[in-house]
Structure formats: structure tokens, C-alpha cells
């Protein structure tokens, strides 16, 4: 109804990332009664990271459906519910637990549409969080996006800011495919301006978070924040880094990445996940295939070391890229 009228820019409000996610869930649940949230400790407790705080009071225990600790049962029930008319949003407490639910994610949710010749849709979102930096050690700190990126039939989203978190979650809930939505445990308490009311960020669109001409840093999730800090430091040395936040890993916005590289002629991909077999390899290879002649230097990847995440605080930061690491490699790349 309002779509044809010129709209004033939406009012914004400062929100934490977890609040922005909760805001998206609240709005989508108000808009569509088929949207339900299911997961562990999401009711009175408000979720391990307080994303669903307050939703129980608004929507009651059938729509904020707290479950026992049964990862494959929960994800599978969401698949069945999605196939039959609901739009479930699952909260999986840690991405490290995805292994327990992987069959339902991979063999069921992702492949249903293809395998059954397009008879059904699986409109579900699997929200979970990963990443290191909080002393949670090896079983609660991984970055596993490459697992999901490799599966045909899943979409894969990793927002870095509160506004993107809200807009992308809204789009994910409205999507008719299974969407893996990976949050970062150290982003939940970051703040940013977030549009009030309905806010949609379409899946499959990257965002240039900082413009520059000397090199392109392609990154996602918490490393976007690190890359922006690095870009500010690089600017002090006269190096203009462009920071492309991929936001949606699948489908990938190839055009934005290629457009940026064609402008800067240099590519650095930064991610927290282990480098070997990481999604950065996909991006570097894609750029090499599509824009080799535009490159003035080989693409570089800066990513996690091939190790489980250690516990001790002073060790944890040594295994995933930090701001100074990005600055150093960027300088090598433009040298």
C-alpha cells in the first residue's frame, strides 16, 4: 500500500546487534503468524545470547517454543514444520553443535527441493553463532561457514552490523529456502544505528563498507570490524583500502567483488575461519578466474591458523586475524 508513495528515510535507533536480531524476529512474528522460533533456552532465559529476550511475553510458549537439548530433533522438526506450512526460525546455541544436526541440514533441508523435483519448499532459518574471542575454547568457538557453503540448497548469511543483522534476518525469514544465519558471539554487544520498523536487506547483496582505490579487502562477520579498523590505520599511511562486506556468502554477490577488484587491482580476503578449505579460497579463485587480467598482484588470503581455538586469552588472538595482521598483509600486497 505504501510502496508507491515516496517514503522519508526510516527513523533509526541505536541498538545492539542482538537487540536488532530480536527486533527482526518480533516484527516478522507480528507480520506472519506462521513464523515460530524454536530452540534451547529461548523462552524465559531469552536465549544464550539474549536475542529472543522479551519474545516469550509477546508471543507465548507455543510460538517461542523452547525445546529440550535435541539438536537433530529440533532441526528436523523445523524441516517438517517448514514443509507443511510454518516458517520456523531455529536457534542453535553454538555452530559447533551443528554436527549433531547436520543430517537434517544437509540431507533433508537443503536437498528437499531438488530431490523431490521441486514439489516442496523449506522456508526455515537456522540461526546460530560462532567465532572465537571469549575464552570458550575449542568446542564453542569455531567458524564453520565453509561447511555450509559447500552444500547445494542452503543460503548462507553472516551479518557484521546491527542494521545488517536486522535487515538480513528479515529477508531470511521471508525466503522460501533454508537459510543458515551465522552470527558472531562478539558482535552481539556491538552497537549501531538500525532502521526502525520494517527493514529488509536482500540476500545476495554485498556492501561496500568503506571505499578505497588501492586494494580490496573482502571479508565478513567480525573481521569486517577488524578490516575497517585496519583500513583506518592504512589511511594514515596513505593507503586507501576498500572494504567489501560479503554479508551473504551464498548466493555470493560476485559483481560487487569483481567491480571492486577491477578498480583497485588487488585482493585480500580476510576471515576468521581456518584458511585451509575456507571460503576465502572460493573468493580468491573466483577473482582469479574472472578478473585475472585486472590483478596487479596475486590474491592474498589472511585467515585462521589450522588449529582448534585455544583457551588462554593471550593465545586466542594469535590464531585468528587481528587488526595489525590485516594492516601488515595489506601493506605487503600494495608494496
Amino acid at each position: 500500500m505504501q510502496a508507491t508513495e515516496a517514503r522519508a528515510p526510516a527513523a533509526t535507533r541505536e541498538m545492539f546487534y542482538n537487540e536488532a536480531l530480536g527486533d527482526a524476529l518480533r516484527l516478522e512474528m507480528e507480520r506472519d503468524e506462521r513464523v515460530i522460533v524454536i530452540g534451547e533456552d529461548i523462552a524465559e532465559h531469552g536465549g544464550a545470547f539474549q536475542v529472543t529476550a522479551g519474545l516469550l511475553d509477546k508471543f507465548g510458549p507455543t510460538r517461542i517454543r523452547q525445546t529440550p537439548i535435541s539438536e537433530i530433533g529440533i532441526v528436523g522438526a523445523a524441516v517438517g514444520a517448514a514443509l507443511t506450512g510454518l516458517r520456523p526460525v531455529v536457534e542453535l546455541m553454538y555452530v559447533d553443535f551443528a554436527g549433531l544436526a547436520m543430517d537434517q541440514i544437509v540431507n533433508q533441508a537443503a536437498q528437499n527441493r531438488f530431490m523431490f523435483g521441486g514439489q516442496a519448499r523449506v522456508p526455515m532459518v537456522l540461526r546460530t553463532q560462532g567465532g572465537s574471542g571469549r575464552g570458550n575454547a575449542a568446542q564453542h568457538s569455531k567458524s564453520l561457514e565453509a561447511w555450509f557453503a559447500h552444500i547445494a540448497g542452503l543460503k548462507l548469511v553472516m551479518p557484521s552490523t546491527p542494521a545488517d543483522a536486522k535487515g538480513l534476518l528479515t529477508a531470511a525469514v521471508r525466503d522460501n529456502n533454508p537459510v543458515i544465519f551465522l552470527e558472531h558471539k562478539l558482535l552481539y554487544r556491538t552497537k549501531g544505528q538500525v532502521p526502525e520498523g520494517e527493514h529488509l536487506v536482500p540476500l545476495g547483496k554485498a556492501d561496500v563498507k568503506r571505499e578505497g582505490t588501492d586494494l580490496t579487502i573482502v571479508t565478513w562477520s567480525r573481521e569486517v570490524l577488524f578490516s575497517l579498523d585496519a583500513a583506518a590505520k592504512l589511511a594514515e599511511d596513505g593507503i586507501a583500502a576498500e572494504v567489501v562486506d560479503v554479508r551473504t556468502l551464498v548466493p555470493l554477490d560476485r559483481e560487487t567483488i569483481l567491480g571492486s577488484v577491477r578498480k583497485t587491482h588487488r585482493l585480500l580476503v580476510v576471515h576468521e575461519a581456518i584458511k585451509r578449505g575456507g571460503y576465502g579460497a572460493e573468493i580468491a579463485a573466483m577473482v582469479a578466474e574472472e578478473a585475472f587480467d585486472d590483478l596487479d598482484a596475486p590474491p592474498r588470503r589472511l585467515a585462521g591458523l589450522e588449529t582448534p581455538i585455544p583457551y588462554a586469552q593471550h593465545l586466542e588472538t594469535t590464531v585468528v586475524p587481528q587488526v595489525d595482521d590485516i594492516v601488515r598483509v595489506a601493506k605487503e600486497l600494495v608494496a
Partner: protein, 323 residues
């Protein structure tokens, strides 16, 4: 005694006979190299699919297994589209993308066969959640083998269904084997149905050869589910006449066992004997049904065989919904 009237008896017989005839023809087509991959025959277990699905409406859901042809037929599938799927045709249920192990017919509430043992159990549980959430009186039935009872999905799903009082029915087809592993070596309990008690739901153990027994138990369970009284676990004992898959050398069974059980566990012969003895129909009536089914199988295969080969894969639309 079973209280089954003539129409119901003949309907049950027709479904069972159709499943057997389908499996016999599928086996033949496989032998002629017209079917690719693998097929798992449901012959011998027909009474379970027939007896359970007789209580279901098109809007009710089932999830099925790798041995799924029988469930699919009992839920009302079109035989031509099933054969077309096995033959890799565009006109098949899944446009040749699924094959024997992945036939779904969502128009009849069949959410799909599953190549993952136990994979359908949580999905049916989720369908039952939909019914509960939307306040409909639909029921979801998950059918699975004795092998699936040992999967984590079974445990997690039955617990969820019980605490949420979902309109779900869990049907274990205990055909005595999970591939080559006999039930005796896979369970330390003598009666699998006892597990229900641990979840706080009724457990029923029936002779899966006897379509009347299956029909009665499933009737009770579906009625309970529809009335909002929660889930039921049914174990139906049975025996698969063929190997685990077409071509299975069956090294884990003796010839004596196979021949003896085949004779002893023939639900279709039993159903005929019952129907005739109860004077619900004559042998001639049943023979006439058999002939109709044979003709329908011929017609379905001929139709399937005329269908175009499955179209090339189109990306991303075959994999992702765009709307």
C-alpha cells in the same frame, strides 16, 4: 470379528495387491536394466502400509523410507508417475531427480521417502507440530524400519512429540533385519514397543502380517492423535520377502529361513483367506481385483515408458525456490 466391512476389506486388499504387483514389476524392470541405481522391495510388508494409511486423509502427512514404494502407493500415489520416476522420466514424481529412494507426493501428504535411516522421523514430528500450531486436526505418521529405532532421531523425536503432545504416530516396521543385522543382535529388549513407555506414550505391538491387526492398532493411534491426545508408537512385526536391495546375495540368511518365512509371512494370502472365510467377498471377486491391478500396472508402465527423459538440470531454480 474385526468389524471391517466389505468395502474396507476390499480397499485394503486392493492396496496390498497393488503394492505387491508394483514391486514385482519394478523388480522385473530392474532385471531388464531399465531401472538405474537400487531398489528396495516392500514385498511381504504390505499389510503395514495398507492398514496404517487406510486411516489417513490426503491432508494427513507421512514420512517414509528407502523401502518406500508401499507407503507411497497406500497414500494414494499415481502408479504411472512412480514408474516414470524409476525410469528417470520428466513425468516422474520428482522429474527423475529422486529415483526409488526419494519419491514424494506432496499432493497426497507424502513428504517423501528417505535415504537416511531415521531421517524422516523428525520431519514427521515437525509436520505434527504444524498441525498443532495451526489448530488443524491433521495427523503425521512416520514409518520406519527396526534399524531406525536405534538412531538418535528416534529418541529425540519421540520425546519431543510426547512432551508437546503432538498428533503423531510412529510406526516401526520390524522386518527382522536392518540390512544384514538381525533384530535379535541389535536390541537387548525383547519387545521394541516397550520403549514407548520411556517416552510417556502408549506402545502397541502388532502382527504386521495381519492387516486387520495393523488396521485396528493404527485406527486407535490415529484417532488418539486427531483427538489431541498425543503420539503413539506402534511396532508391526513383519518379514521382507526379498533381499535388502535388488541383488542382495542374502549371505546372512539361510534358504530354509527365507522359504519358511515367505510362506508363513504372506499378508496377501492371509488377507485373501480372511476375506473369503468372513464371506466379505468371493475368490472370484478377489481374482477380478487382481486382474484389474495387473492391467493398471501394464497401463502405468506403458505410460511411464512414453514419458520424455528427465530434463537437464537447471540452476539455480532446480535447487533454490525463487519465490
Amino acid at each position: 470379528m474385526s468389524g471391517i466391512d466389505r468395502a474396507t476389506a476390499l480397499a485394503l486388499y486392493r492396496v496390498m495387491r497393488t503394492i505387491r504387483a508394483f514391486e514385482e514389476r519394478a523388480t522385473q524392470l530392474f532385471g531388464e536394466n531399465k531401472i538405474w541405481g537400487t531398489i528396495h522391495s516392500y514385498a511381504g510388508e504390505e499389510a503395514i502400509a495398507a492398514g496404517v494409511c487406510a486411516h489417513l486423509r490426503d491432508e494427513d502427512w507421512i514420512t517414509s523410507t528407502h523401502r518406500g514404494h508401499g507407503h507411497c502407493i497406500a497414500k494414494g500415489a499415481d502408479l504411472g508417475k512412480m514408474f516414470a520416476e524409476l525410469l528417470g522420466r520428466e513425468t516422474g514424481y520428482c522429474r527423475g531427480r529422486g529415483g526409488s529412494m526419494h519419491i514424494a507426493d506432496t499432493s497426497k501428504g507424502n513428504l517423501g521417502a528417505n535415504g537416511i535411516v531415521g531421517g524422516g522421523i523428525p520431519i514427521a514430528t515437525g509436520a505434527a507440530l504444524t498441525a498443532k500450531q495451526l489448530g488443524t486436526d491433521q495427523v503425521a505418521v512416520s514409518v520406519f524400519g527396526d534399524g531406525a529405532v536405534k538412531q538418535g532421531t528416534f529418541h529425540e523425536s519421540l520425546n519431543l512429540a510426547a512432551i508437546w503432545k503432538l498428533p503423531a504416530v510412529y510406526v516401526c516396521e520390524n522386518n527382522q533385519y536392518a540390512e544384514s543385522l538381525p533384530v535379535k543382535r541389535a536390541f537387548a529388549v525383547d519387545d521394541i514397543a516397550k520403549r514407548a513407555e520411556g517416552y510417556g506414550m502408549p506402545g502397541m505391538h502388532v502382527d504386521g502380517r495381519d492387516v486387520r491387526a495393523v488396521h485396528a492398532a493404527a485406527g486407535e493411534a490415529v484417532t488418539r492423535a486427531r483427538a489431541g491426545k498425543g503420539p503413539t508408537f506402534i511396532v508391526a512385526d513383519s518379514y521382507r520377502h526379498e533381499g535388502h536391495y535388488y541383488g542382495d546375495p542374502r549371505k546372512y540368511q539361510t534358504k530354509d529361513e527365507i522359504e519358511g518365512w515367505r510362506k508363513q509371512f504372506d499378508p496377501i494370502a492371509d488377507a485373501r483367506a480372511w476375506i473369503i472365510a468372513a464371506k466379505l467377498a468371493s475368490a472370484a471377486d478377489l481374482d477380478a481385483i487382481d486382474r484389474e491391478i495387473a492391467a493398471e500396472i501394464d497401463r502405468s508402465v506403458a505410460w511411464a515408458d512414453q514419458g520424455p527423459l528427465a530434463s537437464p538440470i537447471k540452476l539455480p531454480e532446480d535447487v533454490y525456490a525463487s519465490d
